[in-house]
Amino acid sequence: MNSRRNGLVFGIGIFLLMVAAATMVFAAGQRQPAGARAVRIAYLPPNFEQADFYGQYFMGLTIGLEEQGIEYELVRRTPETHDNHAQQLAIVEDVVTMGVEYIVMAPTHYEGQQQAYRTINEAGVPLFIFNYSDPFPAEFGARAQSYVGYRHSDGGKAVADYLAANYPRGTKVAIIYGTPTQISYDRGAKELHIANGMDVIFEHYANWQRDQAYDAVQRLLTARPDVDVIIGCSSFMAMGAVRAAADAGMLDDVAVFGAGAILEELDSIVAGELTAAWYRDPVRMGQETARYIKLHLDGRANEIAESYNVPIVMIDSVEAIREHIAPVTYTAQGRTVP
């Protein structure tokens, strides 16, 4: 009887192992087919959703690679959470071992990923940084071919300037930060709001999460229903704030500002929910990186701009969307520009 049970367990084990192996083979076959001379490029953002900044940048990168006539194979990897620095370092080590020819990377943390930059440099793989436009300081002991991005502080300043121009002094402002990091503070721009005469009455950390921002704003609107403006330091947190305000029936009483102007934020602006969001064109950033890769491939690396900043604009209307947003943001989703 025991031997029959052992046989059964053994059989189930072998069957499941075969299923796992077959799934691996199938999944490995899902990678992008590449020609014999395809350039292998690793795309390493800290997280990825088709509709967010990293998804739009990816779209711009692939469009750009095709525009440049580069035959490519993209290896796209992200850590499980956007703040898992050790996992992104492990991914870097793995793709270097895979033998990729270029690495396009948005670090989980600009300062916190120095070891990853050094690993890439030591392997001799050209590194293209995006989402940050400041070159690495000398103490990092590493360098990238280019830095394509924007300054987060410019996003915070854009909102501060917009508020100063459109709202009276003494406006009550709440700021929803991500994590307690410099990016949060740059985007929140608390000092600028205070300098402009605004009254910052509430600050909260929602870990870049939509649901945590929702909860925070729900509590805020109960405790301080006199709040005039809520600033979300990321797209998803801003949308969580919008939903909380809508559910509380206070969307007409409070203005919510977003960050990044992803498609969901744009829809919300068109629907009259989100007041405005600052925008930096990720599609353009991706295309610019692709152009740099082409220059490098052609042996013209000296023509690559070390630092490329996209301008930041405020999107607050359909007209602004038509003027500033890359149409592919809509068309890639099978939609038309409003």
Binding site: G13, L17, A27, A28, N84, A90, E93, Y205
Partner: protein, 329 residues
């Protein structure tokens, strides 16, 4: 049929004499099967460079998993280890970069702080009899909060060479010191669990606390020791992790607890306590490391990686549970 029966009998005899082999051999064979499949899918998977990658990437988890094996063996659980790492790295980073401490004092502060976190958990679990899952759920949030408060959103980097030594140095230019360190800790853990009286007490408490108490084992002290050791090992892992990244941030270690617990369970240690295999823990950590690395090397998409990792975890633990329940019938 005769041959099959004879193999089955041999297996039963072998595992009757050495029950640990009933866990270790199938787990090792499963790991071997994975290596074969992944090396077929990727020609670089078995390159020396990639083997070093896997060993390096799993070192920190292995150090933590040794402590977690003891904790689970005692019938407890510690889900605060990721936050202990977050707090300990802020102690290390701020001491080095902000407060100008000498490197060895900063390391002592880091490991000491992490050990104190373990002692804090132990106090509530042993003295106040609060269930470990509740205590460590609370300290998961609390330690992380302290880390944020203490570091004030700063990131510290550019640490002295003495701190980075553990992550940068390779013996004979090939084998990373941190791999040897983690293997040394594994060997110490195996010796402690199988060759010392206190180690056997840990297993006895996890198997039947009442019986352990009646047989004269100091249950409270032994259980407290387990959480203190877990904190101490989290401190060691923090030093290694901080050196590897050359950076200190309050968010460090987020989510490590689930990875470590999964590795230990894959290695055959029971979540119910009273049964643990330090060598199985090594295999469990290695299997998850091989899977994460190998699936990437094979070009499996990120989303499929998640599917496969979850499926294989359930498969390994499910088959073992089914077999154990079959044997008990």
């Amino acid at each position: 049929m005769t041959q099959s029966k004879s193999l089955s009998q041999k297996w039963q005899t072998l595992t009757g004499e050495r029950p640990d082999l009933a866990i270790l051999i199938p787990t090792a064979l499963f790991g071997l099967a994975l290596v074969i499949v992944l090396s077929i899918l990727s020609d670089r998977f078995l390159s020396w460079r990639n083997i070093v990658n896997i060993m390096t990437q799993t070192s920190i988890y292995l150090i933590l998993a040794v402590g977690m094996t003891l904790v689970l063996d005692s019938g407890g659980i510690d889900i605060s280890i990721g936050s202990i790492i977050g707090l300990a790295t802020t102690l290390l980073g701020t001491a080095l970069a902000r407060d100008g401490w000498v490197w060895w004092a900063a390391i002592l502060l880091c490991i000491g702080g992490a050990t104190m976190c373990g002692a804090f958990n132990a106090f509530f679990i042993v003295k106040l009899k609060v269930p470990p899952i509740i205590v460590t759920l609370g300290t998961l949030t609390m330690f992380r909060g302290f880390a944020y408060v203490y570091q004030e959103g700063q990131t510290y980097f550019g640490f002295p060479a003495q701190v980075l030594w553990v992550a940068r140095t390779r013996i004979f230019g090939q084998i990373p010191v941190l791999v040897l360190l983690s293997l040394g800790i594994l060997a110490a853990g195996h010796f402690f669990l199988t060759r010392t009286r206190t180690g056997r007490h840990v297993t006895a408490i996890g198997g039947n606390e009442q019986a352990a108490r009646l047989s004269g084992i100091n249950v409270g002290r032994t259980r407290a020791m387990v959480y203190v050791v877990m904190g101490f090992l989290a401190g060691i892992a923090t030093v290694v992790n901080t050196a590897r990244l050359d950076a200190s941030q309050a968010v460090s270690g987020t989510g490590y607890e689930l990875h470590v617990i999964a590795s230990v369970v894959v290695g055959g240690t029971s979540l119910m306590g009273g049964k643990s295999f330090m060598l199985g823990t090594f295999l469990g950590v290695l299997i998850l490391g091989i899977l994460e690395n190998g699936l990437l090397m094979a070009g499996v998409s990120y989303y499929w990686q998640r599917v496969l990792l979850g499926f294989i975890f359930i498969m390994v633990v499910g088959i073992r549970t089914f077999r154990e329940s079959s044997e008990q019938k």
